[in-house]
Subunit: 338 residues, 4 copies
């Protein structure tokens, strides 16, 4: 960490700062410039609150050299994290596909979709029980009943299930859920993250609409700092000035996050695009760029879906896409081995 | 609402759509264009889920004419909402100032600040007990104890208190809190909003970092649809490409939100600027633009604050600012009366 | 186009609007709603200025049904545009790679790079002569001499050349240049676009940092409306709140632009990433998503480049990447043929 | 400037870097950390190209301490720049209002508006002759004839005129123009900026839609480095995810730019809002925040304007606004003197 001092800083103030840092096990090294002096901080600064330094009278600015996250940092864990889920894994060069409807609507619907996506090669089933909707007047999900139906679909197909939690009060209903999803709007619900850190099951953590890579990793750090290292990062599109697509898929998140962290990275092309016709291109791009997997919305009857039908693939289109993804994945693997 | 049909749409599909709309009390009027036909929907469409229409096979696009919110809509409530809190009010031409530290740190601190800001003219006291922090290693607030200390400060000064809730599980601790603040990261925690709708006390609802005016009003609608009409809207800066300031204060939110809604609109210049030296300019701008109030961070010793000291005014600077704000407010009122 | 009328609109005003539209060959169809009436406009509205309608007293809002571009619109030109350049083409399923240094630095440098990238499979040579630099104190390019050296490299290798124009006054120097590049900062230099429309040579039009798909297509329309249909669209990253990468590559631009337009779409992964280590992933993603080609920065000695060395591939890394891209392209083609 | 070295850096590489910096008059001071070492650069780094350092093999990252602009920097010019124009000035605590139509349409129109805004207290007349329009099919301005008519209006009223240049080729037509405006889309047309630097007349430089404060100041630096110090900075709204207003007015630009630079800062509320009804609030906010002036669109008949009528004030509304602005300005001045 580097502290840039203001032009006029008194000896007394500097001593105060030096003392404060020493108490936290950090030593200092000063460089005097023409206009300004800078201090190099030597020691473990990853847990130092940068703002406590910035607010001091003699400090002009503070810049980080070391990342503020440790558990999620590849520097300290060079090998890819590989997370086992049922008979499959996520991470480490796999291509794990999670598929299913935006929301669970009925037993028949969820079992039909589950069997179909399993037949097409999906390894996990997704489905919304608790649905965060912008409008209070929109369908809010089947809630408890939705989770029960997902478990029925799991029994029928053997597919582990992934579903979203909206609030801590729902946590006990997720006992038998295989992967708990934290949605984009909930990425910084820190009370929830802390509690999820006390579980051992995998957490699928989606990037918020306007959150940086670093903030996403800090939210993963919340979960990991409480003891749960099974975090899956998910890019699902960010909010930009472009409104033609629902969000802007930030494809660079794949190489960047894999560079900064050892955690698996998957892509949600459905929410990014907001339109089924763009999902295949984005899915193929994600696999070619090295994503560890995808989470894709698939519906047995998109025209009559209770939620997000416009971005859901039909079961037939998903089957075709899975074949193509396998071809791209093989090509990508061949390149890596080269 | 206007539905734009695809070029080739079959009679059968159109009948299906017409039936579906009729069931919801909406009738149709068709305009045939050269390439495409459009349907005008006649009836109350404010509660219609626009996505259910978009996903239909014959539909190319859907555009709203009427806003999707009703309770928060000025069209249906032309007069300004004025919310009484203790001996003061927010809304309807008032200038209500909420001031206090980012976080409650000790009894001495919060009472010192409370007495000082009261003396300078603030009508409400703010202070964080539960603190949403990006890093799990940063100070997380005094929590329950923080609320207790705020209530002590209220007892000492008579100032009603405003503090932030992070999660539904904390709600019972807010029984004696005068105004519950919903932070930017929590604006779309819909489970929480619904429960806050069952209270009668005022809710200070902050706009999320990347949320539109409409989404903010839809979150207000969640609270109001459950029965609580005492919602105060707060603009606190949005996230843009500019990183010199912590966020970008969207000053236009004032005239726009007051145009769309009857709810009071206040500004948080401290979080927008992220630096105390820019707070006075932004505060004066907000009052001149017609804001109903401000929420400002003030600390007795910003250099040693446990949180956000860099953006906190000293008590002396706040006193000076209050005098200036009164001058601007008087000028603004004189203009309105003209 | 749909015009939404204000609640209270007088007969007289409506007649005025009807007359004005009739003069432009457009007829009207009205739908009366509960609160508001809407007008459907029938006729060719692609060249109608939407703002002239919006400013009328009785108009609340105007919404487009038809896109405001014609020449660039796939609806009117369903087949892909394929542009011949020297012995190669861009568009229609090709994978055309343009490679070379950020800026031309010397005859030896440009010929060394040109021979190397040709050997690796690039079909065109890029190199900057006129360089738009944020700082007046940074290297501004070799200018006229840079173009002369590019032509030497073309003579030596047979590769057609692509280089950027910054201002109309430079146009006569581009006589022998094969493809004229319009940079992101110049995308809305309409005076320049009009003049480029009077040429017949291909124009590589880069999307501006904060320009929508529609604005990019309107800039293409400027060139095409003046008679030059050889426009290549290029996505090179947009500006968002995320600053870890230089820009955010909007990979969805590929399927979206190819859906809206018949023009070829290429990707610039170098400027998007701003770091050489992320270029291979983004390049592979772009080809998998269906891009018609890539423009990649390659330098013989990135550490000593006069410009953008940090994002330039070495010649060796480029050679390796080209092999991988061919593998991905073959996989992508196999999928399309399926 | 601070250079952060990679973990493994060889002696030989470090010597190379030291030599290279010495040649540019810069000396070094090293701090060895636990994981990484950092170099403090001592000397004038304002003209050093940061990217040339970043691309070196041993360099992990580079961070600026000193701003990269000198002429525009308040650190080196503590006093406000005050620019005389005709009988008025811009800068240094003045409130200078520039008003007039989006585009010049006829002699009668421009003289009518000029006389009216002069009567209301405007000190300069604006009017577009060359109009940058997104669509090639929209009205492009009266061009040469537009400038002639502006000069007629100047003769009739004595008001100095401000009009926009789109391209270097138009420069000779601007001989008698008092203030040359560089529009948002042209802010980084560096060829044009260099030439404007050879004039002595004031340049009104608008911030680009997605340009940072620093980029705006670097564009000012282009003009000033060529010798013209009469630059007026103008904030006119930036592009964000919010589309309800045409752009998002970044009101913080006023205190920030005045903090970083000595140049005058004015606000364009018309383009920011995109709707006349929001212009008064934004104008009052700008003056309260300390802007040196405003540039406002005023039209004699907004409903029939050839361009941007929707955001133009009527002459009557402008007259009323000017009275209010004077009240706010007086209040703001009283505060400053306090």
């Amino acid at each position: 960490m580097i502290v840039i001092l203001k032009e006029k800083s008194e000896e007394r103030q500097l001593n105060h700062l030096t003392e404060w840092l020493k108490e936290q096990g950090i030593s200092l090294h000063m460089t005097k410039g023409l206009h300004q002096s800078i201090l190099g901080l030597i020691g473990d600064t990853s847990k130092l609150d940068i703002n406590l330094l910035k607010q001091m009278d003699i400090v002009e600015d503070v810049k980080r050299v070391q990342e503020p996250f440790k558990n999620a940092n590849r520097k300290f864990h060079p090998l890819d994290t590989v997370i086992p889920i049922g008979n499959t894994v996520i991470g480490g060069g796999s291509m794990t596909v999670i598929a299913g409807p935006c929301s669970v609507e009925s037993e028949e619907q969820i079992i039909t979709v589950a069997e179909s996506v399993k037949g097409s090669g999906a390894q996990l089933l997704r489905g919304g029980a608790f649905k965060p909707r912008t409008s209070p007047y929109a369908f809010q999900g089947l809630r408890n009943e939705g989770i029960r139906l997902l478990l029925e679909a799991k029994k029928a197909t053997g597919l582990p299930i992934v579903t979203e939690i909206m609030d801590l009060s729902q946590l006990e209903l997720f006992d038998e859920v295989d992967v708990i999803q934290v949605g984009a709007r909930t990425m910084q619900n820190f009370e929830l993250l802390k509690q999820l850190g006390h579980l051992s099951k995998p957490i699928l953590l989606k990037r918020g609409l306007a959150n940086t890579y670093q903030e996403l990793l800090m939210s993963a750090e919340y979960i990991m700092a409480s003891g749960n290292e099974n975090v899956i990062l998910c890019e699902r599109g960010i909010r930009t000035f472009e409104t033609y697509t629902r969000n802007t898929l930030d494809i660079s998140a794949i190489p960047v996050l894999k560079n900064l962290s050892h955690l698996p990275v998957i892509i949600d092309p459905s929410h990014a695009a907001g339109a089924a016709r763009f999902v295949p291109s984005l899915s193929m791009a994600a696999i070619a760029a090295g994503a560890d997997g995808l989470i894709i919305e698939v519906h047995n009857d998109p025209q009559h879906a209770l939620c997000d039908g416009v971005q859901s693939l039909t079961m037939e289109d998903f089957e075709k896409l899975m074949k193509h993804l396998t071809v791209i994945k093989n090509a990508q693997t061949a390149c890596l081995e080269d």
